[in-house]
């Protein structure tokens, strides 16, 4: 398998295409798109659908826009042709797909995501499972990294809204399947799921949470 197998659902893809989806989840969708030619095509189809809706917008006969066109006249003169795009550095084999996190996420992340787990940038939440100290909030969505050592289970938890994972390194599995590079797992509020690391190297995921995350003790009570 060379391309992702688990995709964001159509609600997310069409929301991303139309612009209705907010920045937090759009960051995860856009990064999945960098991994997934299939979903890039799907988003293009949804953009074309929105393009049709755009073309069908009813327009008033006298929309008063002539003045805007007149005003633009000097702008057009002033606007020079855009500079030639900088030549793209040819990718070295080891830099391409796989080790380097693609844009748009890369610009957001710390330089290295697979730092030593004892260097202070990771917080161990149970044996072999860490949350990154790196954390961002985008339009109400909390964004962190989740790291799972081989076969280490994420402790039981409850979440009050959507939880989304995007695999950036290694693999993990849950009762629904196994997730490799670029795969997306989407858990809606209230679902129980039991993720654990499933690769030799630590699995590192982008971890998005809309609501609160509550870890549970052995009896299922909030810690």
């Amino acid at each position: 398998m060379t391309v992702p197998f688990h995709h964001p659902d159509d609600q997310l893809l069409i929301g991303y295409a139309s612009g209705q989806e907010r920045a937090g989840k759009s960051l995860l969708v856009a990064t999945h798109l960098a991994y997934c030619p299939d979903c890039r095509q799907r988003v293009a189809s949804y953009e074309a659908l929105c393009g049709n809706w755009f073309e069908e917008l009813p327009c008033a006969a006298h929309d008063g826009l002539d003045a805007v066109l007149d005003r633009m006249d000097s702008l057009l003169t002033a606007a020079l042709a855009p500079p030639e795009p900088a030549p793209v550095e040819p990718p070295a084999a080891e830099r391409t797909c796989g080790r380097l996190v693609p844009e748009p996420l890369r610009s957001w992340l710390p330089d290295a995501i697979d730092t030593a787990t004892d260097d202070g940038s990771w917080r161990e939440i149970s044996k072999g499972v860490w949350l990154s100290g790196w954390e961002r909030t985008l339009s109400g969505t909390t964004i962190r990294l989740l790291r799972m050592a081989s076969d280490a289970p994420v402790p039981a938890h409850r979440h009050t809204a959507d939880e989304l994972l995007l695999v950036l390194r290694g693999a993990f599995r849950d009762e629904y399947g196994s997730y490799g590079l670029g795969d997306v797992a989407h858990y809606v509020a209230g679902t129980d799921h039991y993720a654990r690391g499933a690769s030799e190297e630590d699995c590192i995921c982008l971890f998005l949470l809309d609501g609160d995350l509550i870890f549970l003790d052995e009896d299922g009570n909030p810690v």
Binding site: D9, S18, F54, L57, L65, P82, P91, P102
Partner: protein, 199 residues
């Protein structure tokens, strides 16, 4: 059925194709020759749509006019990057308008993959089997979009394109709230059925 005219007055695929070629030619003229007459023709067609789009998404009149100017200036500057193989001119202008209004009205950035990023997985990396699946999945989605029931497509349009809440849709279309939710659910499951099988 070549030559068949659509009786509802909606353009036949042939007519749509001609339109696309016409606007594509205008964008090409802007890119190659800085052709202001071609630009004015594009402006007259698309500016009113951009204005309506922004007004419906909550912009006031003067902000909407500024957005029209922003978007059309981008069309002027980026005409050379328009690729008719990727999208129609209408879809291309829509994506510019979408990005500018997210930036302006919502004060958010629009995350997007960078096509020049060496870390991006190219379509050519897929196995022949995966490529065949992608072609099929794309065709199936196209079929699914074309066969959406009109009332489901309308709820999808209002929900995702106009960003109306379920309550607003119910009120505007004079349909019970439960029906709006059902139609949206049916629309999404219709589209989802075209998604390639999951494990």
């Amino acid at each position: 059925m070549p030559g068949t005219l659509d009786k509802d007055g909606v353009g036949s695929p042939d007519a749509a194709r001609t339109d696309a070629d016409q606007f594509g030619g205008l964008v090409h003229a802007v890119a190659q020759n800085r052709d202001r007459t071609a630009f004015a023709a594009l402006f007259r067609h698309f500016a009113p749509k951009i204005l309506q789009y922004c007004l419906r998404l909550g912009a006031d009149r003067s902000t909407a006019e500024e957005l029209v100017q922003d978007v059309m200036l981008t069309v002027w500057l980026k005409a050379g990057s328009f690729d008719p193989a990727q999208a129609t001119v209408g879809t291309w202008v829509f994506t510019i308008a979408r990005n500018r209004r997210i930036d302006r009205l919502r004060k958010e950035m629009r995350p997007a993959p960078d096509p020049d990023d060496p870390a991006m997985t190219p379509a050519s990396l897929a196995t022949p089997e995966e490529t065949a699946q992608m072609v099929q999945s794309s065709r199936q989605l196209q079929d699914a979009i074309e066969t959406l029931a009109a009332n489901q497509s309308e709820v999808l349009r209002r929900s995702y394109f106009l960003e109306q809440t379920h309550e607003e849709i119910a009120e505007d279309t004079e349909v019970p709230l439960g029906t709006v939710k059902t139609r949206l659910r049916l629309a999404l499951s219709h589209l989802k059925r075209s998604m390639r099988d999951k494990a």
